[in-house]
Symmetry: C2
């Protein structure tokens, strides 16, 4: 099985390294300097020149670059082509809008770090993580089974299946909203570098504040209805706490905090069951 | 030096254990069942009966209970009495509103866990953590020096000094706001127990959602001006992102994300310097 990885950044580089750990030998494509690093690290066997020569092509690029890559490449008939973008509806729409002889499967690894680039990639990045595989009536089952095997071998411990719309709504909440909140959180004038005042709560809240605005702006724009709905809902909820604080309504504030605590306990319970 | 700890929950229990590790022997007070556990664990030498018999009294109780305890107790003349409440202005106001022969120092350990109670206390809880010591013109310098020695021996690696108002504004931002955001975050209907969709971002954002509403409502009420100001500011900032999403203004969204990223990088840099 000939495997190619387009894009050798944090995710693509980690895919290459974890595939190598599992005994595979993948080729890669990226800018020359990045390919050189990946070759030197032994993460890829060689630089991929002809996309049509591969059985499996992983596209580990941001959404726009991924779509450009699909548009501009020739793939072998029946090749499994899987992107790992954080939005799936826009990718599906793009792929299905044109004739194709390859088997497309949208994927999204629930793994990341607040750093990027090949130099931060790790063969262990996916160990114990979850991979979302997006399916619909056009998805080839055999392609999915092949990918499931490769993802398991990369270290993923959970493989989830869902449709693109469900994915995009979920991701708007669990990831996109979190990045906006974290990014907005650091903007208070009270954030003036007095580290003795910050315990784990502040660290957790602001860990992902430093998003790459080029990449993330596009991710938001490609999923903006769902992202806006989640953000509007959070703002509405926060306003309830603000009202209780401003009016000194102790019972209301207690009720709000209690509701959140019970929800959190429920979530923790469901997590244990699922 | 005779040391007493009033309240043997997560913080008080950890103080007892870390003091013991440092070679001290403290007495403690709490409900009989808790004292029994602390005695059995060897965290305290005996149950404190007479507060007036101690040179140093740590009050590891929630704010209202701490104020009740101070009001109802007799302390030795010159005894060092230190509370560890998360709000300091209200405590100072209370202590200074009445005659006293003890030396009061407000403190606030920047350490905690999302669990509580003696059973979760640890001798290592404060290792590497930061302790805020609140000072003003009435604070006895010798008392502060004594506490600094004890806190260092408990494992705290950073000792910060500031006034109560500064503390309360900072804590409204770094801790109180974070707990409200986390508590509100879990309230989306999208939080329906599909754990495969959650990477580290969601976990970090919701780790502290399950606040004890009894304790935290009081903490907010005792610092509600500052807490409300920080929350209002965050809501205003979030609204900017929402506007950009709703109108599809890509440049505006990119600008907002960029601003947050630069602020985060600045904070990380300051942290390295300080």
């Amino acid at each position: 099985m000939k495997i190619m990885i387009a894009g050798l950044g944090l995710i693509g580089g980690s895919m290459a390294k974890s595939l190598k750990r599992a005994g595979y030998s993948a080729d890669g494509a990226d800018r020359p300097a990045v390919c050189e690093k990946a070759l030197q690290a032994g993460a890829i066997a060689s630089v991929a020149r002809d996309t049509a020569a591969y059985d499996v092509v992983f596209i580990a690029l941001p959404p726009d670059a991924a779509m450009d890559f699909i548009r501009d490449s020739s793939f072998a008939e029946g090749a499994v082509v899987a992107d790992i973008c954080g939005v799936k509806g826009a990718l599906e729409k793009f792929v299905y809008s044109r004739p194709r002889a390859f088997r497309y499967v949208g994927c999204h690894p629930m793994a990341g770090r607040e750093v990027s680039g090949f130099e931060n990639s790790q063969e262990t990045l996916f160990d114990g993580a979850s991979m979302i595989i997006v399916e619909n009536e056009r998805t080839d089952r055999e392609a999915v089974r092949l990918l499931e095997k490769l993802f398991s071998e990369m270290g993923f411990s959970t493989l989830k299946h869902c449709g693109a719309e469900y994915h995009d709504r979920k991701i708007a909440y669990t990831s996109q909203l979190a990045h906006i909140v974290s990014n907005a959180y650091v903007k208070s004038p009270a954030a003036d570098g007095f580290p003795g005042f910050t315990g784990g709560s502040f660290q957790d809240m602001t860990r992902i504040a430093g998003v790459d605005e080029e990449v993330w702006t596009r991710l938001y724009m490609l999923n903006r209805t769902a992202a806006a709905e989640e953000l509007a809902l959070l703002i509405d909820n926060l306003k309830l706490y603000l009202g209780a604080l401003q009016s000194g309504d102790e019972a209301a504030l207690k009720g709000l905090l209690r509701e959140g605590r019970l929800r959190k306990e429920q979530l923790d319970k469901e997590k244990k069951i699922l």
